[in-house]
């Protein structure tokens, strides 16, 4: 791929219409999830296995003591260095040519390692029941409509956005646009920033946020958990080497004592008196 594409979300242009949520459900054939009233206009607390994007509604008191009603289209970030991909024991999670991160449900065993290691908590397990009545689970999340990208279409949420809060395009151009937008809105939102966190190698969803990430419940410095790096890059390969080493050790003992030095300990009686 010559061009790297990202989804650019300018939350300051979002009017909270939730068309992106509907478009996502529609394109991906996701069932509706009945929810209790959560105390605000927000429909779901966070993304779930059947709701891959959720529009956040945040009532925020700004530095001038005034109310800011903030919206954010939330979905998988498609990290360049994705913790979920790292920890998956079945290699069920992979990067596509578009830089999107997708789950292969044929390989997924529903262990939930990805769910517990995602720095943004966007992955969820869905429980299924097979024809014998047995339950099984699969991890689900936004695919960035990779099936649409493959056909030359843009993600469903982007296509449907009527305020132009979302765009899908060349990474460099999108980031440039984001930086210019931040300059434009600095008067209105002094804390405005581009959110494209380095700890996960940058993301394929780049935001212009009106406030600090924590206001949106996002980590300020998300990264692949150190535990995941130590686990997958060190502990596991070392563990495999160790069992190999001790196995070689006992094979060495066996050969040495039974074949090479055979009988030596028996001459003149061994010391097992």
């Amino acid at each position: 791929m010559a061009t790297e594409y990202v989804k650019f979300v300018d939350v300051t242009k979002c009017d909270g219409c939730r068309a992106c949520m509907v478009a996502c459900k529609n394109w991906n054939d996701l069932p509706a999830e009945q929810q209790d009233f959560l105390g605000s206009a927000q429909s779901h607390a966070k993304t779930t296995a059947d709701t891959w994007n959720v529009l956040q509604y945040i009532e925020h008191e700004n530095s001038k003591g005034k109310l800011d009603y903030l919206f954010r289209h939330s979905a998988c970030f498609h990290c360049t260095d994705a913790a979920c991909e790292k920890v998956c024991p079945e290699n069920a999670i992979s990067y596509t040519d578009f830089g999107t991160v997708v789950i292969d449900h044929e390989k997924c065993v529903g262990c939930g390692y990805c769910v517990n290691n995602c720095p943004f908590e966007v992955i969820s397990l869905k429980e299924y029941v097979d024809k014998n009545g047995d339950k099984y689970r699969k991890a689900h999340k936004c695919t960035m409509c990779t099936d649409r990208l493959e056909e030359g279409l843009q993600p469903a949420c982007v296509t449907t956005c009527h305020t132009g809060a979302m765009e899908f395009g060349d990474k460099a151009a999108m980031i440039k646009k984001a930086e210019e937008r931040v300059k434009q809105i600095k008067d209105r939102y002094p804390n405005a920033m581009v959110y494209n966190p380095k700890g996960v190698g940058g993301t394929h969803t780049v935001y212009v946020l009106a406030e600090k990430p924590s206001v949106y419940g996002l980590p300020e410095n998300p990264k692949v958990p150190t535990s995941a790096v130590l686990w997958k890059d060190y502990a596991q390969p070392l563990g495999k080497m160790m069992i190999g080493a001790t196995t070689m050790g006992v094979i060495g003992m066996f050969i040495s004592s039974r074949i090479i030095n055979k009988g030596k300990q028996d001459e003149g009686g061994d010391s097992h008196e």
């Binding site: 920890v87 024991p89 079945e90 290699n91 065993v109 529903g110 262990c111 939930g112 390692y113 769910v115 517990n116 290691n117 908590e121 047995d134 339950k135 099984y136 689970r137 958990p225 535990s227 995941a228 130590l230 686990w231 502990a235 596991q236 070392l238 563990g239 495999k240 160790m242 069992i243 080493a245 001790t246 196995t247 050790g249 006992v250 060495g252 003992m253 066996f254 040495s256 004592s257 039974r258 090479i260 030095n261 055979k262 030596k264 300990q265 028996d266 009686g269 061994d270 010391s271 097992h272 008196e273």
Partner: protein, 245 residues
């Protein structure tokens, strides 16, 4: 073997409680290893259908996880003196333990060696005990947040995965040696029978754990024996047990 036949006189080495505790520990350890193996390396993914799919493997792993926690309690409750002796042996280190390692290396590779007088557990068993205690704590403590992630902060669960991996990686590497020494290594086979029946030949006990054996003789628990394991005195203490023949 040109040597005279060894006597069948046996002595009790392990209590029934220890035999059960050790057996449950061993079986649950391997069951846990096998039910998790396809998660560890994709080479063993064919085990999923054998184990009833990922769900079946997960269920079995949790059942054996509970079993894996019980041996310590079985030992403590039903044979506290034995458990206490284990603890005491683990903290007792003398020159004989250092000498043991020099000689055992020769023995294991089939060279001539001499037995170093050992107490109830030899230095190698003590090292094995330390590693198994350490790794069991790691595995159990990290397994709980992995099982119930909803009750723990994300960081605890994430570190749980790491420590679980470190724990069993170290444990299995050591277990390979532990099993080789008991099942394959020819000088230790009475020890393997012993950990299942609780009893070992007197001559073997005296040869491998001389200090312990002499102690028990002094207490009047074990018969004093000659080189081939036959009692020296015509009348031996009551607790002496004869098997076979």
């Amino acid at each position: 073997m040109s040597k005279p036949q060894k006597s069948n006189v046996k002595v009790r080495r392990f209590s029934k409680a220890f035999v059960w505790a050790h057996g449950i520990n061993a079986i649950s350890f391997f069951a846990l290893y096998i039910t998790a193996l396809p998660m560890y390396t994709e080479f063993f993914d064919w085990l999923y259908p054998v184990l009833g799919g990922p769900e079946g493997a997960r269920l079995l792993h949790r059942i054996f996880a509970v079993a894996f926690v019980t041996p310590t309690f079985i030992w403590v409750i039903f044979d506290f003196p034995g458990f206490k002796r284990w603890m005491k042996e683990l903290v007792t280190w003398k020159k004989r333990d250092i000498d043991f390692f020099k000689e055992v290396a020769k023995e294991l590779f089939g060279f001539k060696f001499k037995h170093v007088r050992q107490s109830f557990f030899n230095a190698g068993e003590k090292i094995n005990s330390f590693i198994q205690i350490f790794t069991a704590i790691l595995i159990i403590a990290s397994g709980i947040p992995m099982w119930f992630p909803e009750f723990f902060p994300a960081a605890v669960v994430q570190w749980g995965y790491f420590f679980h991996n470190v724990g069993f990686g170290l444990a299995i590497a050591v277990v390979v040696g532990h099993i080789y020494l008991s099942v394959v290594h020819k000088h230790s086979s009475p020890g393997y029978t012993g950990v299942i029946t609780g009893e070992v030949p007197a001559w073997w006990a005296k040869g491998h754990y001389t200090d312990w054996y002499d102690e028990e003789v002094a207490k009047g628990n074990f018969p004093d024996i000659d080189e081939n394991g036959n009692p020296k005195k015509p009348t031996s203490p009551d607790s002496k047990k004869k098997k076979g023949a």
